[in-house]
């Protein structure tokens, strides 16, 4: 997890295309400037970043299901709950499930657990649209590779990976 780059997902641990589910493992770094302010003497992963971890896991699932032909943007978070503190060094296991794939949007459910204990959950709505920039698609394909997304029979135009960003 590289908080400063909003790289929240470390690794895909399970993908089930039939059930339309994804599981990711995400380790909170032991050190980050974020913890200098949140909070001095009591470092906590900000709750908004727990929502971001769930949203990114939902997004990576949806992109994989759509063969990376569309981008997904966070539109809303409903029934969001932050159930306990998450601290540096902990591993968050995030489970995302596609509930409904609509026209131009999707609704998913996500939850995060630390050592089996539920720490956060939410209903996530993503708005989907064609990629607004080719380098964005390239970045997400590189991200998928970095986190070990099983690509299976996904048909990917590898030429577009030229859109990689240098810090990936």
């Amino acid at each position: 997890m590289r908080l400063e780059y909003f790289q929240m997902i470390d690794k895909v641990t399970e993908l089930d295309l039939e059930a339309r589910t994804l599981r990711t493992a995400n380790t909170v770094p032991c050190e980050s400037p974020i913890f200098e302010g949140h909070f001095p003497g009591h470092p906590l992963l900000p709750g908004v970043l727990l929502f971001e971890i769930m949203a990114q896991s939902c997004g990576m699932l949806l992109l994989r299901l759509h063969n990376y032909d569309r981008m997904a943007f966070l539109a809303s978070v409903d029934k969001g709950k932050l159930r306990t503190f998450v601290v540096p060094g902990q591993v968050i296991d995030v489970f995302a499930r596609l509930e409904h794939d609509g026209s131009g949007y999707a609704r998913l459910k996500a939850e995060g657990r630390v050592e089996g204990k539920l720490v956060c959950n939410a209903d996530v709505t993503l708005k989907t649209m064609p990629f607004p920039a080719p380098e964005l698609r390239g970045y997400l394909l590189s991200t998928a590779e970095r986190i070990g997304m099983p690509m299976g029979d996904a048909v990917i135009d590898t030429v577009e990976r030229a859109g990689n960003l240098t810090h990936v």
Binding site: H100, G102, S103, G104, Y105
Partner: protein
């Protein structure tokens, strides 16, 4: 038609916190009821689930943006309900 309208009106009332009595078949979802695109995603989700269909929001939006259709065709509730009935019929065919 009336069943479809009742379901849609109840969904809108619950989703957008609009008094049910303010919602009529002649209501324009955007102009009269003030529903924005994000709220309409929630409504579309509820309609999709309630009727087992997939409202083609993207193609409707594209048609409106390209001047091939008016918002009234899709977002006046009696017209929206007619489209829903068509989608239900197409699904059953």
């Amino acid at each position: 038609m009336s069943t479809t309208f009742e379901t849609v009106a109840n969904i809108i009332a619950e989703t957008c916190d609009i008094p049910r009595e303010n919602i009529t078949p002649e209501s324009h979802a955007i102009d009269d009821l003030g529903i924005d695109s994000l709220d309409f995603l929630d409504i579309a989700f509820a309609i999709d689930k309630a009727f087992g269909i997939k409202l083609p929001l993207e193609s409707w939006t594209q048609e409106v943006n390209e001047g091939k259709a008016t918002t009234e065709q899709y977002f006046v509730l009696k017209n929206l309900c007619a489209r829903i009935d068509e989608l239900i019929a197409a699904k059953s065919a």
